[in-house]
């Protein structure tokens, strides 16, 4: 076969070959443990899981925000001024310094982008899986909370006193009122809201195309599954599971007041109660099931 000076290569046949196979113990997600200033993995699968020991990150952290993909996290070391990036792979983890200024982290649903908030400054970073790049830097009102960012980093919202704002370099724009929680759907600018007791979809942030998906009562927390197909809502001690773009909602009793929701692998969620119990909720095939993982020490709940 000739290779010509112009470099006109003849296409090769397409072949996929297995380069390696390895077996390890599974993890369903991670929790921050304030006592050890490290992360603990949730070992096992929903229905058979337990909390592992503190992981050796190589650095002590006083705050950590774990990405929905459960494959990386960003945290702050005591006295640190920049974020530490932590790569997660099963039972192993490793930390490395970054130049991203320290602040509270809000992830996009696909873990591809994040918003980092320090005071009135909000920085948007993309390319989290490989090499984070700063996309934008916004000045926001310090009263804005509940920041949500899309996977491409170009759409950012926040909440202030129940008002949903679109945040950009040209200033905030009011989108809706009576909002208690908001989250973007994977790879889109479609936004899910908990608004006036209902689950609402705003396709492409367009209020004129507002679509009410379900009645929720007093739900105040909203979380998407890691694969973006299901949404979990919490209202007191009651949990609601439904498809992300609407459908039948299934209620599950948590057995205690819900403190926080977090994602786990696939279509599973982490549910932490105010009494320290941690559960995994499997929203996969069949009715959702809740299984106890462990009881966390005070301060260990994220």
């Amino acid at each position: 076969m000739k290779t010509l000076l112009f470099g006109l290569a003849i296409p090769l046949l397409a072949v996929a070959q297995i380069a390696s196979v390895d077996l390890t113990a599974p993890t369903a997600g991670y929790r921050f443990d304030a006592e050890s200033q490290s992360l603990r993995s949730i070992e096992g699968v929903p229905g058979a899981a337990s909390l592992g020991e503190a992981m050796a990150l190589g650095v002590a952290l006083e705050s950590v925000w774990i990405a929905p993909s459960q494959r990386l996290a960003f945290g702050v070391a005591p006295g640190g001024t920049t974020l530490v990036r932590v790569g997660l792979d099963g039972a192993t983890a490793s930390g490395e310094a970054t130049e991203i200024p320290a602040g509270e982290v809000f992830y996009s649903p696909g873990s591809q982008a994040m918003a980092v908030r320090a005071g009135s400054r909000l920085e948007i970073w993309t390319g989290l899986a490989s090499s984070p790049q700063r996309l934008a830097s916004l000045e926001i009102d310090e009263g804005v909370a509940g920041v949500a960012v899309s996977d491409d980093g170009h759409a950012v919202t926040g909440l202030r006193d129940g008002v949903l704002l679109r945040l950009s370099e040209s200033g905030p724009v009011e989108l809706a009122t009576g909002v208690r929680a908001a989250a973007f759907l994977n790879d889109t600018h479609d936004l899910l809201l908990v608004q006036d007791g209902a689950l609402v979809l705003l396709p492409k942030l367009d209020g004129d195309r507002r679509e009410e998906l379900a009645a929720l009562g007093e739900a105040s927390q909203l979380r998407l599954s890691a694969d973006g197909s299901k949404v979990l809502l919490a209202a007191g001690s009651k949990l609601l599971v439904m498809p992300a773009r609407g459908g039948e909602a299934v209620a599950v009793e948590a057995g205690g007041a819900v403190h926080s929701l977090a994602t786990a692998n696939g279509v599973a969620f982490q549910v932490a109660l105010t009494d320290g119990r941690l559960y995994l909720l499997d929203a996969g095939e069949g009715p959702p099931t809740l299984s106890l993982v462990d009881s966390l020490r005070e301060g260990g709940v994220q």
């Binding site: 390895d22 229905g47 973006g228 696939g266 996969g284 106890l292």
Partner: protein, 1002 residues
């Protein structure tokens, strides 16, 4: 005109002779360009089509000035470089050709064949230069040969040269055809892109192309050309491009080598067709200096002798079936070694009178190296030829030493370096042994302290407190009279003559002085029958003192207390000798003999006071007399109390039945018949009060009526009974001693009994009352089904009695798990540790309340685990009121062996491939295989060996039957970012998991 025509005609009729490599094909002379300067022939067909860098060309413009073009005629006369032009041009010799001089021939061209292949040739033979000069002429030729045999549009280009004697026209700054902007040669497609042009080395460099120039065209040839034909340059146009000829890129001479050091250098080439094959060529004029050339072009070896070593190197390639090569003479210079020291100038520190050794190391060229001292040195250290500086330094200080290193390698440059050794004085410290010899309190003491290290003489100074009574002199003498026995540590400061100080600690023990008996012996005289009292004394040691008689005996009637009081009434005269022992508070003892004389006292009966008797118990006491003549005879002077009698030798004995005080009157008669009497009171104490019941008391039963009577003896009746706070629940104790009631607690119960007599004498006794439990009913475990689904919340289990019990029943619920994976290896066949109660343990204490049957709340098994197992829940350690019943019950469930269950399957795209993650559990703790399907392709993965290894690990044991399989795939073409949906099926020895779609992981 006539003159112009002739060359054309002649060119048409004559067969051109062959000059150098110029082909003498007649067809190349078919046409001619009339004598001209800067002219061109009309567009001419090649007779075949060539692919010139993608353009199909079959028409060419023959230009007078040593080139042909394909786009349009070129009249330019001053040559330009061919690597950055916008013309399609092939130029064997681009210069200002001028054929107007009659001595110059014309430029001719036309079609012919070369080696049977169609060809188009252009001859510039014997052509002159501008301005119409022909004192020097050049002969060169361009031939384009159609090579359709290798592919459509392929062709060869030949530049053939016979004679090059001029290089520049007058209009290009040339002088007599030389200098100025000299000729260029090569080709270009005019795009300026890499690989689309070529310029022969020497282009535009005056003098280069001339016959004897450094880049002579008539004597050079295409680098790598297979034939030895100088003056012919061949280029191959293949598939629209012109291949670069084989070229040796490495210049000569190559980098120097160091004598005795391994050498390694890679040659490089380009062009033609790799792979290249390198070799050193046998050259009689330049034999191989001892290096090796690998076929990959690496020249290596070790040369020990400095000098210059020429050699000949060749590179070959195989190009369209023929071998092409380039050979070049080259040279390598071997530098003589320069020796240097690797060792730092500051050698490790040394200390006076301490063994020292430092090893020097040199480098540069091949060893061995020889070392020698040039100047300086360290007192006490010697340097040997191997570079070892050793010995024991005798003087402190900073000592420079200049040392040289040499080798026997010819031309090696020796090294010299000055090293420095710091020799520290020995550490200043105390030399004396500590602790010092013991001192004794009150005894003069002297000891001398000594130091070493640093620089003497030394001065001593105490730091803090010394032993009381001692002083430390500056010369180290510790002296005085210690006053206080104790262990006395102390500190001192030692200073040498340079003022350097060091602290040291020491100590000594000051002993107690020896103990002795200080009382004067004999003791003062005693009188029989008269009271006597003396206090003994001791000195030394540490009080208080304890006295005893260790030999002989004291006079009868005297006794010695432990405090040293000798008291009593001696009964008989005489001398008594005895040995005294005194012991101080530290156990130190002293002994001394002593004696006391007892002289005769007046005659008397010594009987009062009489010691007390106890009613009902035997009484005995010896009566003595003093002052008379023995033997004495005793008798009663009045009737003695009932039960008491006196013998003639003075033994008063008997048993008195009644308590009280009774007079005892006695009479004694000595040997002389003299009689004396005396009366004393005898006090008879009542018998001690006590309980007479046996303990423990007779047992009772829980909840059954009970009664028993307590009794007492001694003291004076009547008796009154009472109990303290310790009384078995459900019972009462009456004052008459009746213990009755219905026990409401079981066990070995304690009660405290107090009895008082009429005289309010009291005694208290602790006794036990055993109360036994009623019969215990049967019990069982409830709530455990026969089968447990894996990875689910477990059932709520409990213990249940066949009938309620009167007391709270305590027990332990215990989970026992026995793995049943079917795996023979014990490392794999392990139970899931997650199968436990919600407390995190496998043992849970439970209580069944009194009167109930079931323990409440039921115990939650938090997780059924993911391993096939036999699960046994037992109720054990059953007890009530702390008393075990020895009863147990159990129930059994099973987590079955199942096909794998998948909980999550997804893929992660990466560079050149993707990872698939399959998560789930296998209750058999083994996997056989997995099928992963994307589109039409199914990839089978065997997992038997990997799962056997994984499930044997401790990490896997902690996680039961759960697993994560990660398979990494490499793709050559498909974009891993857009794999779309797939499915996964995983198998174990039981069966296959349900197929599950594979989506992209987030």
């Amino acid at each position: 005109m006539m003159r112009r025509m002739m060359p054309l005609v002649l060119g048409a009729l004559l067969v051109m002779p062959c000059f150098g490599q110029i082909r003498n094909n007649a067809g190349f002379n078919t046409n001619s360009i009339p004598a001209n300067d800067d002219g061109s022939a009309p567009a001419t067909t090649l007779g075949f089509t060539i692919n010139f860098f993608g353009r199909q060309r079959n028409v060419v413009f023959v230009n007078n000035n040593g080139n042909v073009t394909f786009d349009s005629a070129l009249a330019t006369f001053t040559p330009f470089g061919l690597n950055n032009v916008s013309r399609e041009i092939i130029a064997p010799f681009f210069a200002d050709v001028d054929t107007r001089n009659p001595a110059s021939r014309l430029v001719t061209y036309g079609n012919d064949t070369v080696n049977g292949r169609p060809a188009f040739g252009v001859n510039w033979v014997d052509v002159g230069y501008y301005n119409a000069k022909a004192d020097k002429t050049n002969s060169f030729q361009l031939v384009l040969i159609h090579r359709e045999d290798t592919g459509p549009g392929n062709f060869d280009i030949e530049f053939n040269y016979s004679r090059i004697t001029w290089e520049t026209g007058d209009a290009s700054s040339g002088t007599n055809g030389l200098g100025g902007v000299s000729a260029s040669a090569g080709w270009s497609n005019g795009s300026g892109l890499a690989g689309t042009s070529y310029q022969l080395p020497g282009s535009l460099i005056p003098g280069s192309f001339l016959d004897f120039g450094p880049y002579s065209l008539s004597r050079g040839r295409t680098p790598g050309a297979s034939s030895g034909q100088s003056g012919r340059w061949v280029f191959r146009g293949r598939e629209g491009a012109i291949l670069e000829a084989l070229t040796m890129l490495t210049g000569c001479p190559i980098p120097n080598a160091a004598s005795g050091q391994p050498y390694n250098f890679r040659f490089s080439a380009s062009g033609s067709r790799p792979p290249y094959r390198w070799a050193l060529v046998a050259d009689p004029e330049f034999p191989n200096p001892g290096l090796a050339m690998s076929s990959a072009g690496v020249l290596s070896g070790t040369l020990n002798t400095p000098g210059e070593y020429p050699f000949t190197v060749r590179v070959e390639a195989t190009d369209e079936g023929e071998v092409v090569s380039v050979t070049r003479r080259c040279q390598i210079t071997v530098d003589p070694p320069v020796i240097s020291f690797r060792t730092n100038a500051q050698l490790p520190p040394a200390a006076v009178n301490t063994r020292y050794e430092a090893r020097l190391a040199a480098q540069g060229g091949a060893g061995p190296f020889r070392y020698a001292t040039v100047s300086g040195g360290v007192p006490g250290l010697q340097l040997n030829a191997d570079g070892v500086l050793a010995g024991s330094p005798t003087e402190p200080g900073s000592w420079p030493v200049l040392i040289a290193a040499r080798s026997d390698v010819q031309g090696a440059v020796p090294a010299r370096k000055q090293f420095l050794v710091n020799v520290q004085p020995a550490d200043l410290q105390l030399r004396s042994s500590c602790p010092l010899p013991n001192a004794t309190g009150g005894v003069p003491y002297t000891a001398r302290l000594e130091a070493r290290g640093g620089f003497g003489p030394y001065r001593f100074k105490p730091v803090g407190q010394l032993p009381p009574g001692l002083v430390l002199q500056p010369n180290g003498v510790l002296e005085g009279q210690p006053t206080t026995p104790n262990w006395w540590p102390f500190e001192m400061e030692i200073e040498d003559m340079h003022g350097k100080t060091a602290r040291a600690g020491c100590g000594l023990v000051v002993l107690y002085p020896e103990i002795r008996v200080s009382s004067a012996c004999p003791l003062p005289e005693a009188t029989s029958g008269a009271a006597y009292s003396q206090t003994l004394s001791a000195a030394g040691g540490a009080g208080p003192y304890t006295w005893s008689v260790v030999g002989g005996s004291l006079p009868m009637g005297l006794r010695l207390s432990s405090t040293g009081a000798l008291t009593g009434t001696p009964l008989t005269p005489g001398n008594a000798s005895f040995r005294l022992k005194v012991t101080d508070s530290r156990g130190q003892t002293a002994a001394a003999g002593c004696n006391v004389a007892v002289r005769q006292g007046s005659y008397a009966l010594g009987s009062c006071p009489l010691p007390d008797a106890v009613a009902g118990e035997p009484y005995a006491h010896r009566i003595f007399a003093t002052g008379g003549a023995e033997p004495y005879r005793f008798a009663e002077a009045q009737p003695l109390p009932g039960g008491l009698r006196i013998s003639a030798d003075g033994s008063l004995s008997g048993t008195l039945a009644t308590a009280g005080t009774f007079p005892v009157a006695l009479r004694v008669t000595d040997a002389a018949g003299r009689v004396t009497t005396r009366s004393c009171d005898l006090k008879v104490q009542p018998q001690a009060l006590r309980l007479t019941n046996a303990c423990p008391l007779p047992s009772g039963d829980l909840g059954v009526a009970y009664s028993t009577k307590l009794t007492a003896a001694g003291g004076v009746e009547p008796y009154t009974f009472s109990s303290g706070a310790l009384l078995p629940p459900g019972l009462r104790l009456g004052t008459d001693g009746t213990l009755a009631g219905t026990p409401s607690a079981a066990g070995y119960l304690g009660l405290l009994i107090t009895v008082a007599d009429r005289g309010n004498q009291r005694t208290t006794q602790l006794c036990e009352l055993p109360v036994e439990l009623p019969a215990f009913p049967d019990l069982k475990v409830t709530g455990l089904p026969a089968s447990l689904a894996p990875a689910t919340a477990g059932p709520r289990v409990s213990a249940e009695l066949a009938a309620p019990y009167q007391l709270p029943v305590e027990a332990d619920l215990v989970i026992e798990v026995e793995p049943e994976t079917g795996q023979p290896s014990p490392e794999v066949n392990r139970a899931d540790p997650r199968l436990r109660f919600s407390t995190g343990q496998r043992v849970l204490p439970v209580t069944i309340a009194a009167g109930q049957r079931v323990a409440s709340p039921a115990a939650q098994i938090v997780n059924t685990g993911t391993v096939a197992s036999k699960v046994t829940v037992k109720v054990t350690n059953v007890r009530a009121a702390g008393i075990p019943f020895g009863k147990e019950a159990s129930a059994v469930a099973r987590v079955p062996r199942l096909a794998p269950v998948l909980t999550n399957v997804c893929y992660i795209p990466g560079t050149g491939g993707f990872d698939v993650e399959v998560t789930g559990y296998s209750t058999t703790r083994e996997l056989v295989s997995a099928d992963l399907t994307f589109g039409q392709n199914t990839y089978f993965v065997r997992l038997t060996d990997a799962s056997q290894e994984f499930f044997s690990t401790e990490d896997a044991a902690r996680n039961g039957g759960t697993f994560r399989v990660r398979a990494n795939y490499r793709l050559s073409q498909a974009n891993p970012q857009t794999l779309g949906q797939g499915t996964a099926v995983v198998r174990n020895t039981v069966g296959a998991a349900a197929s599950r779609p594979i989506a992209r992981c987030q």
